[in-house]
């Protein structure tokens, strides 16, 4: 029984979403501004996009960020999925308490501390800071996010499916690869997406652990922003927002379509 939306409810939802979206919309709109003054509208133009692409250091930073994000997200997804399996499947092993602590701690650890501590490690083992160190750092904190995402799916996973596979002769590894993994695949993919965007976003940890020649896009943006708002940065931000938003929307729509198809198939089956 829904007694409908009161005007108060509607107003608070509308205002809430306005608050969430208007700043980003303004940013996008002004990236098409012809004027160099970010706050004065002087007609439509895409010249800032052209300038952004002509700026070699920006393009380099974007390329570094992209490679870091792809590599770190992929490794973090593997490690995070394994960690999620360990957490849900092996409820008793030596050091489980420490293990789960290490999974959850990075989620609440201030970034400045994660960044600082990893830097100290790299210095202690004499590793030169560069793209590799940034990747290692990103894997470490994003694998914990992947682990949490995958774990929440595994908790509701019906283990009798895996047992049925083994009963039919599959080894545990095969049962996992052929039965469990396809079923939890959407959450593993969601974990990858999360790890990818976290890496794409990260400023603080990269700031600590990056070296010469491995400036990431957020570092580049940050150093430019400190000097003031420029339409060029607006353009770069708009591209980033567009890339991520497209990815997220396409993924969730395709997941939704799968879900709808499944529901329709179930309905048809029920009617038959």
């Amino acid at each position: 029984m829904n007694r409908g939306w009161s005007p108060f409810n509607i107003t608070s939802v509308v205002l809430g979403f306005a608050f969430l979206y208007i700043p980003i919309l303004i940013l996008i709109v002004y990236s098409f501004n012809a004027s160099k003054l970010v706050t004065v509208w002087a007609g439509f133009s895409i010249k800032w996009y052209a300038e952004a692409f002509a700026n070699q250091s920006l393009v380099d930073a974007a390329w570094v960020t992209f490679r870091v994000a792809i590599v770190s997200a992929s490794i973090a997804t593997i490690l995070g999925t394994l960690a999620a399996l360990a957490l849900t499947r092996y409820t008793r092993f030596h050091g489980r308490f420490l293990f789960s602590g290490m999974i959850y701690a990075p989620l609440v650890m201030p970034e400045v501390i994660t960044g600082l501590s990893l830097l100290l490690l790299f210095v202690a083992i004499g590793m030169d800071r560069g793209m590799t160190t940034v990747i290692l750092a990103h894997i470490t904190f994003s694998m914990c996010f992947v682990a949490v995402v995958v774990q929440s799916r595994l908790v509701s996973f019906d283990r009798s499916l895996e047992e049925a596979a083994m009963d039919l002769g599959a080894t545990p590894t095969r049962a996992f690869l052929q039965v469990t993994l396809p079923i939890i695949a959407p959450s593993v993919f969601a974990g990858w997406m999360l790890a990818f965007t976290l890496s794409l976003d990260d400023l603080v940890i990269a700031q600590f652990n990056s070296g010469p020649g491995a400036t990431t896009l957020p570092m580049k943006i940050f150093s430019q922003v400190r000097l003031g708002v420029t339409p060029e940065i607006n353009a770069v931000c708009t591209i980033l927002v567009a890339v991520v938003a497209t990815g997220v929307i396409v993924t969730s729509i395709s997941l939704k379509r799968q879900e709808l198809q499944r529901q329709r198939a179930e309905q048809l089956a029920a009617q038959a």
């Binding site: 290490m102 970034e111 603080v204 997220v248």
Partner: protein, 303 residues
């Protein structure tokens, strides 16, 4: 042989992530702890190691005797640090309350929305979370600065006659935190409010409550777990926030994340920054433990 292989394959699922985290999470963390008791030096790296693994057990003991609490003493004596801690906690607290004030009506409205709209509304709340944090904070600079859009709007409407100074003040930091962490508040609240049993409100009305009374006597106390979860999810990261105070805050905005960052990069004082980090963690452990306990209790009650 085959079973041994299978066994070790199973163990791999534990050992691979376990070892990774031991190397890249625990060890660095212990290094921070160690460094926080080392002495500062003008060198590269800029500290005198307090302990050397190659020294062997006796050497370690000698090293441990050389541990210094000087860095911690320095932090307690230097007003910049403890002011930063207090100011971080205060700013995080105020922002958390503001986020609750904005997030609760939003989550409530979403939970009351027609059922078929709710997944879309939920997705719209999560979507900004996927777009870059840095970009979202950056977007506010153009709005809040003196010749920014907010001042232009207010001036043209005649609400104010002189532009307001918002950027580079604590107000801008509040706005930035509320904006960045609003989804963290809305999600647990929405999850709670949506699954509340609507007939409880009807029962309360049947027993003589007006709608407003029914909200305060039924909905609000039942939404407490969501409120607590949301507040912690905003408060904990806000305390250690770096990007927001350094982009939106002013010179008087003291937040410990920013102080630590400056200490490390500008003053190159690694031992002091490590000690600052350790104290920050100790401060955060209290709310984190409280959060864990309330979550555990909520799970217990849900069972």
């Amino acid at each position: 042989m085959k079973t041994w292989l299978q066994y070790s394959a199973g163990r791999m699922t534990i050992w691979l992530p376990y070892i990774w985290l031991l190397i890249f999470f625990l060890t660095p963390f212990l290094l921070v702890a160690k460094l926080s008791v080392s002495e500062t030096a003008i060198a590269q790296p800029p500290y005198i190691p307090a302990m050397n693994f190659a020294d062997g057990p006796f050497g370690w003991w000698r090293d441990i005797k050389k541990f210094t609490v000087g860095n911690y003493l320095f932090i307690t004596e230097e007003s910049l640090y403890w002011k930063s801690y207090f100011s971080s906690l205060w700013i995080a607290f105020v922002s958390t309350m503001l986020t609750l004030l904005i997030g609760y009506p939003l989550a409530y409205g979403m939970a009351k929305a027609p059922r078929e709209w709710r997944p879309t509304l939920l997705m719209l709340v999560i979507l900004p979370f996927w777009t870059s944090f840095l970009i979202r904070v950056y977007a506010w600079i153009g709005i809040l600065k003196k010749e920014g859009l907010l001042n232009q709007l207010l001036l043209s409407m005649g609400v104010i006659s002189d532009p307001l100074t918002i950027l580079n003040t604590n107000v801008a930091v509040y706005i930035g935190i509320v904006y960045s962490y609003l989804p963290f508040m809305v999600l647990p609240l929405f999850a709670n409010l949506e699954k509340q049993d609507f007939t409880l409100l009807e029962a309360a009305e049947d027993l003589g409550c007006t709608r407003r009374q029914a909200f305060w006597k039924i909905t609000w106390p039942l939404s407490m777990p969501g409120v607590i979860a949301g507040c912690f999810l905003v408060f904990i990261p806000a305390v250690g926030e770096f990007v927001i105070p350094s982009l939106l805050g002013g010179s008087e905005t003291l937040m410990i994340g920013r102080t630590l960052f400056d200490e490390f990069f500008a003053n190159r004082d690694w031992p002091i920054s490590s000690a600052v980090a350790i104290i920050l963690l100790l401060i955060l452990i209290v709310p984190i433990m409280m959060f864990q306990r309330s979550e555990a209790r909520a799970r217990e009650a849900g069972r």
